[in-house]
Symmetry: C2
Subunit: 176 residues, 2 copies
């Protein structure tokens, strides 16, 4: 039972499935397990990099960071210092028929409606049990209340340890 819950949660994360908000009321401001909130002003933070996830996600994404995060990325500092906050925004990956009329072939893909925002907060003491990172996922500014979904953040990020021990559980590299 525990295994299938984990598999479901991991699938939800990887495939971008959204949990249904319960009928008990609006989602809380903070994520389950970690108590991570959507940082004020994050939308104006510095860009770290961009990415595209195909498959079930089919999104295009931008990764932003607060000042501590940006400095660590630029300095190549690992592990990331406490206070690092990384915000991943994602939007539906959509072709642009308008742009394609300008370009010589169907080739232009742009950001459609937003899907969700994921936040990673480094606090090596508070989040010692999850490699120093706390996680949250937000839709329309509200924390996703699905604990199994949020638990799966660490499950997936932790897989990086074996592949890239120096990454400190962070998928993103800084793009000049």
């Amino acid at each position: 039972m525990k295994l299938s819950t984990t598999v479901l949660a991991c699938a939800a994360l990887v495939f971008g499935m959204s949990a249904v908000v319960s009928a008990e009321g609006p989602a809380p401001e903070a994520s389950p397990i970690y108590g991570v909130t959507l940082p004020d002003g994050y939308r104006d933070w510095t860009l770290i990099s961009v990415a595209h996830e195909a498959g079930m996600n089919n999104d295009i994404r931008a990764i932003l960071g607060n000042e501590i995060a940006v400095k660590a990325f630029r300095d190549g500092r690992r592990p990331f210092p406490d206070g690092t906050i990384i915000v991943r925004l994602a939007w539906q990956f959509q072709s642009s028929p308008r742009n394609d009329k300008v370009f010589p072939a169907p080739q232009s893909f742009v950001a459609g409606p937003p899907t969700n925002v994921q936040v990673s907060v480094k606090d090596s003491r508070r989040y010692a049990a999850s490699g120093g990172w706390g996680y949250g996922q937000f839709e329309n500014g509200m924390a996703n209340p699905n604990a199994a979904l949020i638990q799966a953040c660490f499950t997936c990020h932790a897989k990086l340890r074996a592949l890239d021990a120096k990454a400190d559980l962070v998928f993103t590299s800084y793009s000049q």
Copy 2:
């Protein structure tokens, strides 16, 4: 002759071909035709949106804006006010075998090495002959000196007029 030069230049722009710096010396700081320079601090500007150009470009890109640009995008103000500066960064579109080992299928694409940075500056008087916009393209921090390439910026952006008259020659929309 003029037509073929334009076609070549447009192809260079659309296909992301880089002009070879002449043997006369380093590229100037400012773009030909428009005198556009790489703005100080642009790498920390606010993200407007992201995109992927497939085909010959095969890049993934981020569009950043200065404060005037961001306010105009968020307020839906068109045409953009003078002082608007939009910076488009692009990187090679690369699959990530490392990430794909974490995800359930080959699906992860990330930003590789940078290709070029394109800058659009709104100055309705100075650039009246090109719809109010001046353009520049930069590689490794240096302005691309190819005048035909830079001329093609307006050629392509101007095609938006017939498709989307309210866009003020700007392809990008703001992503929440």
